[in-house]
């Protein structure tokens, strides 16, 4: 019978905290960058110009329909050979995760915009608004409300996806726990602790999201 000993992890606490810092910081970067890519993807796919639409759809489907683990490895190992761009593991994984998240954000943002009744932008146009004005003043304020729960959800997934950057030796929480596991010969305790740490951050977040959803439903 296996003897659990979580006490041993205490001596690795700074390693874990370091890793946690990297994981959280990484999430912030890839969520923000991903939202920027998502905005480009969404407005690109709604453009009146066909080449722009095609470009946006290619981006969205390329990143939505391939596994993120493959993208990470491809950005780090294959892109330098193809394009001659040398990237640090951190840059490569930040880029891959942002683009991956961005492809999903694109669909969420696009879906939110087209879910707004066409009569709304027509009413804006009838008042003399340009398409840009009616997007900013009329459509987006309503669409963003509908997008928020799905965007939060995708960001939670992005938080968990950062665990994959350990394959490129980015020192996130999972990478540091591998170090601790090898050092202590206690992988079961180590990975249990990592799982608890992820859940401890995400469960309060999901509760906030659910509350937000309820509040938005009442407002409709």
């Amino acid at each position: 019978m296996y003897q659990w000993d979580f006490g041993i992890l205490w001596s690795y606490r700074w390693l874990f905290l370091n890793g946690l810092g990297v994981t959280v910081g990484f999430t912030v970067v890839i969520v923000l960058l991903g939202l920027v890519f998502g905005l480009f993807g969404a407005f690109g796919s709604l453009s009146r110009l066909k080449p722009v639409r095609l470009l946006a759809l290619t981006f969205i489907e390329a990143f939505r329909c391939t596994p993120i683990l493959v993208q990470l490895i491809w950005f780090y190992y294959a892109l330098p050979i193809l394009a001659g761009v040398e990237m640090t593991p951190i840059t490569a994984s930040a880029l891959a995760l942002s683009l991956y998240g961005g492809s999903f954000y694109s669909e969420i943002i696009r879906g939110g915009i087209i879910s707004i009744d066409k009569g709304q932008s027509e009413a804006g146009a009838a008042l003399g608004m340009t398409p840009g004005q009616s997007m900013r003043r009329i459509v987006l304020p309503q669409a963003i409300k509908r997008m928020i729960p799905a965007l939060m959800n995708q960001s939670i997934i992005q938080f968990k996806n950062t665990s994959l950057v350990s394959v490129l030796a980015v020192p996130d929480m999972v990478y540091q726990s591998q170090v601790a596991a090898h050092d202590s010969y206690r992988p079961l305790e180590t990975y249990t602790a990592v799982a608890v740490a992820y859940a401890a951050i995400l469960i309060p977040l999901t509760i906030i999201v659910r509350r937000g959803e309820k509040r938005l439903a009442v407002g409709e």
């Binding site: 027509e122 009838a126 003399g128 309503q142």
Partner: protein, 264 residues
Amino acid sequence: MSETSKIEIRGLRKSFGSNEVLKNINLDVAKGGVVALIGPSGSGKSTLLRCVNLLVVPDGGSVRVGDTRFAFGDGSKLPDVKTLAKFRATTGMVFQHFNLFPHMTTLENVMEGPVTVRRMAKADAEKLARAQLAKVGLAEKADQYPATLSGGQKQRVAIARALAMEPDVMLFDEATSALDPELVGEVLNVIQQLASEGMTMVIVTHEIAFAREVADRLIFMRDGIVVEEGPARQVIDNPQETATRAFLSHFHRTGALPPSNAAP
């Protein structure tokens, strides 16, 4: 009449795919005139109305409102978005389904055009908006959101929102069709009040008795063409064409307007 006409439409054509919804339409509306467009659904009357403010861009013909004229079809370039927006700002439109902005209060709905399009100072826009709300009898609803209003109240707010742009022309697209019968009167009263103030209006409606009272001209459309046109009372009381007669036989054509105290 064409020298004094406020709206002039010539040879207007529009197709959606292979479906030709407007076939060579001509229309004149005198300054201060009220024209009612009637006809069965699918006759093209709503599309024609939407061509007046270019919410629908015609395939051919020309549209003039006031001094601004656009030609469409062979060789003519489509107007750019800025030109279109500026043009639409001079016409007010009221929709069947109100299309109020649900994320704004009633007051903000009415202020939106003046602030965003006319770049009016907030304080001036608020004064103007409150005056328009008072005009449609809803001054006390200024701080409520559209979701809390009845259909008739929503449509009166939508009229106030259009009027806040101080348009030369008002277009009504089946403004009472989505309303419960007991709420129709309060909206019709507001429209009639506008007519008596000399507003130039084009009204797409199924309220034949109302059209007879308020409109000075009536146009009956079917299958994308104007079948019959003339003074409203004359066409309604004594239609010349078989199609007009058949259509009008479905309606009570006379009858008093709802009492004028229906609008609080």
